[in-house]
């Protein structure tokens, strides 16, 4: 059963140094607030997993907390590069970053295998690309029935998955909707699950086609309104496209980046203070 906990407490008890963590969210519902809490607590030598490492992974990498990144697309969507990610790969700053890279479909299917209790999933793809040579968790195999060549991708089971949702109730049941990406599979494949939410309600009104995670599939639910910023929670907050553009110049230079992190993340206690620290600075 999920405990309703503070984010500080959940990160402290459920994430350990050297573990693997997936903070999932596909453009929508990205758990940025939880990422900031990991940075504040200085969790070390993490293996981070995510299809689309974006600003929060750029921050974790730039702060030197990440040993390995398992991913499929590492950019600032519609804007350009993730400069801290690039600096780590191109110049090993602030440390070397080990990479394991896939296609979106490949990593999505690794989560599906992990969530299903299977050793691997079968798919088409990877053939004819140089990804196969550089990724040990994808291989070409023969279909036992038709002999057709297909790609196998190994199951992935993060130590902890963190996702953000619109709502939880007091028992720790969770509902999320809109673009729900790979969050269900990321949660079901993980050993431990943290969900940050916009709102805790007395009773969840079921929505057609929403993802509903019963309390027993979750370890901790934390109320973190605005915890996706600059991403968004459909029907609660708006995506701040200006901030995504602005991140380009904040992250390009090492010192500017470090100063920004110091001022807005390390010197703030939580998401509420983080958001307040940006008032007048960003929008």
């Amino acid at each position: 059963m999920a405990e309703i906990a503070s984010l500080q407490e959940a990160v402290q008890t459920l994430i350990a140094d050297h573990e693997s963590v997936a903070l999932e969210g596909f453009t929508h519902l990205i758990p940025q607030g939880a990422g900031h809490e990991i940075i504040r607590q200085g969790k070390k030598d993490l293996t981070l997993i995510r299809l689309t490492p974006d600003l929060i992974y750029d921050q974790l990498i730039g702060m030197g907390l990440v040993k390995k990144l398992i991913f499929s697309w590492g950019g600032n969507p519609g804007v350009g590069s993730l400069h801290r990610f690039r600096d780590a790969v191109e110049h090993q700053w602030p440390r070397e970053l080990e990479l394991e890279e896939h296609t979106h479909a490949g990593l999505a299917n690794r989560y599906v295998a992990g969530a299903s209790g299977l050793p691997f999933m079968v798919m088409k793809g990877y053939q004819g690309t140089d990804l196969l040579k550089n990724t040990k968790n994808a291989a070409v195999i023969d279909c036992p029935f038709t002999g057709e060549k297909v790609a196998a991708v190994a199951a992935i089971n993060p130590d902890t998955t963190i996702i953000h949702a619109q709502q939880a109730d007091r028992k720790g049941n969770v509902q999320l909707w809109g673009i729900t990406g790979i969050q269900k599979e990321a949660a079901f494949s993980a050993k431990k699950v943290i969900v940050t939410v916009e709102e805790v309600v007395d009773k969840i009104e079921p929505r057609p086609n929403a993802v509903f995670l019963p309390s027993f599939t979750i370890d901790a639910v934390c109320k973190v309104p605005g915890g996706t910023y600059p991403s968004y929670a459909l029907d609660y907050t708006k995506r701040d496209n200006q901030f995504y553009k602005k991140w380009d110049s904040i992250s390009r230079d090492r010192n500017t980046f470090m100063n920004w992190m110091e001022r807005h993340v390390l010197q703030t206690k939580n998401t509420e203070e983080f958001l307040r620290s940006l008032e007048g600075v960003v929008t």
Partner: protein, 247 residues
């Protein structure tokens, strides 16, 4: 009306979309072209973004593949394993729009690294959905402005397969899709030769000379016997494109 090479490229790309097709769209030029087509001659086309939004009808061009505008105007939103496994791999996508940092004469694309993989000069974002779009969409349209450092003899990394070594090397791998049918640039159009699959200059934009295209390509370009000249942008095409970009 005056127009830029970039506008011409986007408009030519939009013209390739026939009405009623399902089209897997990436951010940037592909998104601008697909939405322009939807507002002009292809109102029934189904735009699919890899965030799982199907049948989106954005008024303004989105910055990311998951902007709320896409979620709010879609016919449905499906989870990621579904968009890739059922829609793309299940052969339900007619057209995939792609670009990249590098392309070779057989339309293989690189969006992973410039330099070696282990010690790259430039680390690019990587694969995303491109490799599966390249192999599984029934047909692939590539949009890339011509530059010598982008159109190269040998790409540094094959992220997305075009025709691999040319000839039948793609069909040997049994991909669902037939591969790139057109490369739309800012100066003209290249299409694969039916036999060798080597990209060949088939159309030029008004006022552009063959040499200008060759100057921006890192291999000896094949040129078709009768290179056609493409119709310049019509006023309504330009107006709509500018409207979309401003919105």
């Amino acid at each position: 009306m005056d127009y830029t090479p970039d506008e011409m490229m986007t408009i030519v790309a939009a013209r390739q979309l026939t009405d009623g097709v399902s089209c897997f769209v990436g951010i940037g030029l592909p998104s601008a072209a697909a939405n322009l087509a939807r507002h002009l001659h292809a109102p029934e086309s189904i735009l699919i973004y890899e965030s799982g939004t199907i049948g989106t009808k954005p008024v303004a061009l989105p910055l990311s593949i998951g902007d709320e505008e896409l979620a709010e105007t879609s016919d449905t939103i499906v989870p990621l394993p579904e968009i890739f496994n059922y829609w793309l791999q299940g052969n339900r996508v007619d057209i995939g729009f792609l670009g990249g940092a590098q392309i070779d004469r057989f339309a293989n694309l690189n969006s992973t690294v410039i330099g070696t993989y282990d010690n790259p000069n430039v680390r690019l974002p990587g694969a995303g959905g491109a490799p599966e779009i390249a192999s599984m969409a029934k047909e692939v349209f590539i949009i890339m402005p011509l530059k010598k450092r982008a159109f190269v003899e040998k790409i540094d990394f094959i992220t997305s397969a075009g025709f691999l070594e040319g000839s039948h090397s793609r069909t040997d791998l049994g991909f669902n899709g037939s591969g790139p049918s057109i490369v739309i640039t800012d100066l003209g159009i290249l299409r694969p030769d039916p036999e060798s699959k080597e990209l060949t200059l088939t159309e030029l934009y008004p006022g552009v000379k063959e040499e200008q295209v060759q100057e921006n390509i890192g291999w000896k370009l094949k040129i078709a016997k009768n290179v056609q000249v493409v119709e310049p942008p019509r006023d309504e095409e330009l107006q709509k494109l500018r409207e979309l970009k401003k919105a």
